[in-house]
Symmetry: C2
Amino acid sequence: MRNLRIGIDAMGGDYAPEAVIKGVVEAVPLLDEGSQVVLFGDKARIEELLRAEGYEGGQIEIVATTEVITMHDHPAKAFQTKADSSIRVGFEHLANGKIDGFASAGSTGAMMAGALFTVGVAKGVIRPAISAAIANVRGGYTLLLDVGLNVDCKPEVLAQYALMGSLYAKKIWGLESPKVGLLNIGEEESKGNAASKAAYQMIAQMEGVNFVGNIEGNDYFTGKADVIVCDGFMGNVLLKMSESLRYIAKARQIDDDFLARLNYEIKGGTPALGVNGVVMVGHGSSTVYALRNMVKETELCIKAGYAEDIRKAFAPEE
Amino acid sequence: MRNLRIGIDAMGGDYAPEAVIKGVVEAVPLLDEGSQVVLFGDKARIEELLRAEGYEGGQIEIVATTEVITMHDHPAKAFQTKADSSIRVGFEHLANGKIDGFASAGSTGAMMAGALFTVGVAKGVIRPAISAAIANVRGGYTLLLDVGLNVDCKPEVLAQYALMGSLYAKKIWGLESPKVGLLNIGEEESKGNAASKAAYQMIAQMEGVNFVGNIEGNDYFTGKADVIVCDGFMGNVLLKMSESLRYIAKARQIDDDFLARLNYEIKGGTPALGVNGVVMVGHGSSTVYALRNMVKETELCIKAGYAEDIRKAFAPEE
């Protein structure tokens, strides 16, 4: 078995490439022996930054690209027209098996467009999701999905999220039978809006999902479920609200471990689920610490093999 | 002008009637001189409880009723069949002008059914809402609506919530021009789900609403808006999540004023907006402290006259 190859967009994020290079240099000693980081971006600049960091090892490769997709670009259009952009070339490497995962703190839209145009959606998956690990009061994390990709979800899509989230939690967190809940406004199965009521019935009948029923807002932080399913509109609001609590705690000088852990930087990046491959999305304003952790998290995701589990679960005949 | 008459369901809530009577007795000295509490419920039991509390004043009246709508009853059916229930008789008094507002910690569904069957929805209002005051880090409150009545909201309904919330915040909080925001997943007007995108355009064109645009999850607690509009599915999840933070803070021994204020008991009850009259809904598990404050809040709502403002705003020709 050849070594893992972790693809990183050197040009993605508000503080790129400087913060990305610093983060990668910090991450390298933390990776498995032989794991390789493959950077996509401005080669001369990257080499300069690596020199400035005093990096002289052999675990970092550079694939030279000349273009950058910015936050102002139309994601799908930019992916198609900027043929030598770091995101485009990164995804081509992922599709060709030259890297085993690809992560960027750049445009989420361009990352998703790239995934769809290259590795594609896993067969049988209606819509991919972006998930996020939200700290809970038990000291662990709860996987929330979707957090912004699909703002209007059909029940079938929510039901698939239950299975995708479950498979991810199994592999990444080593849970034998992750508890999966549907975010809703009451415990009873008759409660909810049209989508959640229909989704409840579908999830309840799914094999391989340990469905614990509806999860109300008061159990969002309690870890009652390991995976919480909701549409991307709700998930995005909750994700940003959760993150804000960390800043509120800081501003109010509240010293509490749970509130401090409501920090995306700890994981650094969050996976797109339901695409053929490990695709990680980082926060636009990622710091060096966040980018360091994004590299580590990407390695973890590659090793865990959840993407293959999802592929098999949705197209078992292949 | 005759004195205010505050109708209270003595039989509503998990700890009724004991907690209600205690709460009312505690509330009476805090009310305006001459304000009258009118209790609906089991007369003998109420009198017994009033004696036990040592209450001998003249500010509490009792209207005897013999039936109770429970949390297990079908709300609308129970309202119609239990003709001598405390909620039904309370609403009849409200509709006849014998009381100026009616509050209950009993079945929210029965309260809304009662409002619709008696005083009715204000002319021009598509759907009433239940709002809730959520503590913000500025030391004040943000009005969130809807918090559970309408789980699938059309854009027109969300737009009306903007105006109703604004009129309420003006009168209750004395704000000249309350900042109204639409809960959404991005700042730009092009962001959101189908309903929020359409609602944005409608609210932006509304007269009498100081629309500050989209509010993201990270500004849910910051007081960036005085009124936050969302559908009842989102609002219910957020309300319960907010409330849970108070318990999390308590369990983790976090001593913080903002987190402590995420406590429904402080207001005790929350108004239904868009119905013809002051209708207050309390938490099912209301304590004496919560019920005491519900009585006070109902008096405040009656005095503020927001219900009349809403009526006029939606049917200006009358």
